[in-house]
């Protein structure tokens, strides 16, 4: 720190425009990232033949809930959500640089695929029985909403099933990387003009997906079936690997911008290693990375330890996005110093509402879907 007397007397009377992105961006980044992680791990499970368990059947409802809650954040953050339709009509000459063009097409596709696979992962006969219990007037609507999934199970068809899984993995990766690429294209914020955050968002999304498989899905299963389901051990190792890689990328990136960055990146480094340093240390290093790492390595693969590590991983995934977003926008392009972020009541209200939507939707889906049916699959049924 310089002594006050040695500081130049630079005093800037300036205009600073408020930055457009807030907590809602971090919210949908983490919700879509974790949903992508859940979907990718689900696809890997399906590919490996690890199907027909309650955990497998609960993963897609959770992913759907997270994606829908993520979309709510997007709609809340956009100033004129009714005009989103113009994204499909105009501006296609910039399709190579505006990631939103891909977001508005591929992310709904990801949601639709997750929605469809939610029913495809169920036992068709149990699904048919469930539809038969629905009151007759609304039955056609329910049939449509399930995309007639009691009649067929494409996952069982060798080539088609694999193609669907590959599509899900690609769309899941896009959901994870989307917000990172979005920030990367923002030329006015040099801190974000790096692929490092894309890698970080993908890795923390994968770790978060594994964390949901370890901590959230067994809990949902216990609530809906009153039986405890031990998560697979592969989630433990997947989460550990993703956490280690994310830690390496995060600190290598911080080191790089502080050591080799241009003047704008140096200012970002000064911010991250200055006023934000304690936040980074506590929320990303201690809670998000170090604690989960220690627990996963030395916790003896106990369920309680893995659940604790999962909470840390999810916390860290959110904190990381929040910090990258805030640090990038805090640098004032109109001149000196930095801006201080203080979420207003509206943003906090939307955040709480979205959390409520995600949780209640997941609980609703878990309670109405026949996830506990272990009837052998493969037989379609007319309703």
């Amino acid at each position: 720190m310089f002594e006050r007397s040695t500081l130049p007397m630079n005093e800037l009377f300036n205009v600073v425009h408020e930055r457009p992105f807030s907590l809602l961006f971090a919210n949908y980044s983490v919700l879509l990232g974790v949903a992508g992680g859940i979907a990718i791990l689900w696809a890997v499970n399906a590919w490996m033949g690890r199907r027909d368990t309650p955990g497998f059947r609960l993963a897609m409802p959770v992913a759907v809930s997270l994606v829908l809650a993520g979309f709510m954040n997007v709609l809340a953050e956009v100033q004129q959500p009714g005009r989103l339709i113009y994204g499909y009509i105009y501006g296609w000459v910039y399709a190579d640089t505006s990631i939103i063009k891909y977001g508005i097409t591929l992310l709904p596709l990801f949601l639709a695929l997750c929605w469809w696979l939610m029913f495809q992962s169920l036992d068709p006969r149990a699904l048919a029985d469930g539809i038969a219990r629905v009151p007759r007037p609304v039955r056609p609507v329910v049939r449509f909403m399930t995309l007639w999934s009691w009649r067929y199970r494409l996952l069982d068809v060798p080539f088609v099933g694999k193609a669907v899984l590959v599509a899900l993995i690609l769309l899941g990766l896009f959901a994870q990387a989307y917000s990172g690429i979005f920030l990367m294209n923002e030329h006015g914020v040099p801190l974000w003009n790096s692929p490092a955050q894309v890698i970080l968002f993908v890795l923390t999304g994968l770790a978060g997906g594994a964390a949901v498989h370890v901590a959230v899905i067994p809990l949902l299963n216990a609530l809906s079936t009153r039986r405890w389901m031990a998560p697979g051990r592969h989630y433990h190792w997947g989460m550990l690997g993703a956490v280690v890689l994310a830690g390496i990328v995060w600190y290598a990136w911080l080191w790089w911008i502080a050591r080799f960055g241009d003047i704008a990146n140096q200012r970002a480094a000064a911010l991250l290693f200055g006023p934000y340093f304690s936040t980074i240390v506590w929320h990303t290093l201690v809670i998000g990375l170090a604690l989960p790492f220690v627990i996963l390595v030395f916790g003896g693969q106990r369920i309680a330890a893995d659940v604790l590590a999962s909470i840390g991983v999810l916390w860290g995934a959110y904190a990381l996005r929040y910090l990258i977003l805030i640090a990038g926008q805090a640098l004032n392009r109109s001149g000196a110093g930095y801006l201080d972020f203080a979420p207003n009541e509206e943003v906090i209200w939307y955040t709480a509402s979205d959390a409520l939507i995600a949780v209640s939707l997941a609980l609703l889906l878990a309670s109405i879907l026949p996830i506990n049916s272990n009837v052998p699959v493969g037989a379609a049924k007319e309703v």
Binding site: E11, F13, L84, S98, G188, L271, G335, Y338, E345
Partner: protein, 280 residues
């Protein structure tokens, strides 16, 4: 399940798969057929319709030259712009930061008029998902307020902090070189009102325009040349320390607004001050 019901089920599945395949083929054909139409209407509806205010003046390349030696920091341009363009309170299309340079006792004061740089390679246009912002043929970067959905992507894409979200229209907004005036043969409001004649406006394609002559005859600078945006707002007498990011402490207008409580309920971003700000 007996044989007949299995056959029925099999037929139903085949019917479904046939329908699915036919649907996908029809969709693909539709997309292929729609492609040329989409390409034709892809920039902006006003541009596609050939509306002169969207297309601009062909053959011209508008630019601004600001001679900092003549700027006295009177803010007449700031006020004229606000009146001309009905810019809401707390936001500015052009503004004049007031800077003290150097360390005591070697101190001097400088003013740095700011506005959209109407770059040759504008990064704000490339990120717009709706075609709501585009560059006219005369180089002016414009915004269609009926198309913009206010995603804020362009606000963060601009290295010059020229854009903001208008809280009234809930769309992105910035300086347009007063296209409503220049298309009528008038000067932009800020140039018209500049008491010291510090701001000059002209056509870079015209070698006899004041801007072209000044650029040809005198050393000129641009803000943040390293961004690669190739701005078309030029400065004479721009100190090197002002060209990129400024060291120092940000004050005061936003703080005053917050203190007055005019924007406090909606304010998410505040200026960090004192020791904290010295880090950056």
């Amino acid at each position: 399940m007996n044989r007949s019901s299995e056959e029925r089920s099999l037929k139903a599945r085949r019917r479904f798969l046939k329908g699915l395949t036919a649907g996908m083929a029809a969709s693909a054909a539709g997309v292929a057929a729609a492609k040329p139409a989409k390409a034709a209407g892809s920039v902006n509806p006003g541009w596609e319709a050939g509306n002169p205010s969207y297309v601009g003046q062909d053959g011209r390349r508008w630019a601004m030259l600001i001679d900092l030696r003549k700027c006295i920091g009177c803010q007449a341009c700031t006020v004229a712009c606000k009146f001309e363009n009905n810019v809401p309170e707390g936001h500015f299309r052009t503004w004049v930061p007031d800077v003290e340079l150097g360390a005591y006792p070697d101190v001097r004061r400088a003013f740095l008029p700011r506005l959209c740089n109407h770059c040759a390679r504008p990064s704000c246009i490339e990120v717009c998902p709706a075609g709501a912002t585009w560059q006219r043929k005369d180089g002016v970067v414009e915004i269609d307020y009926d198309i913009c959905w206010g995603c804020g992507s362009c606000v963060d894409a601009c290295p010059y902090d020229a854009r903001f979200i208008n809280p009234v229209t809930r769309t992105a907004e910035k300086c347009t070189f007063c296209t409503q005036r220049i298309d009528q043969g008038l000067l932009p409001a800020c140039v018209e009102s500049c008491v010291g004649g510090a701001r000059q406006f002209g056509d870079l394609n015209d070698p006899d325009s004041p801007v072209s002559r000044a650029i040809r005859e005198q050393p000129v600078q641009v803000l943040k040349p390293g961004t690669g945006n190739e701005p078309r707002v030029f400065y004479i007498g721009l100190p090197h320390s002002l060209q990129n990011n400024l060291p120092g402490r940000p004050t005061l207008w936003s703080e005053d607004r917050d203190a007055a409580g005019t924007t406090a309920p909606d304010a998410e971003w505040r200026l960090a001050t004192d020791k904290e700000a010295e880090h950056v």
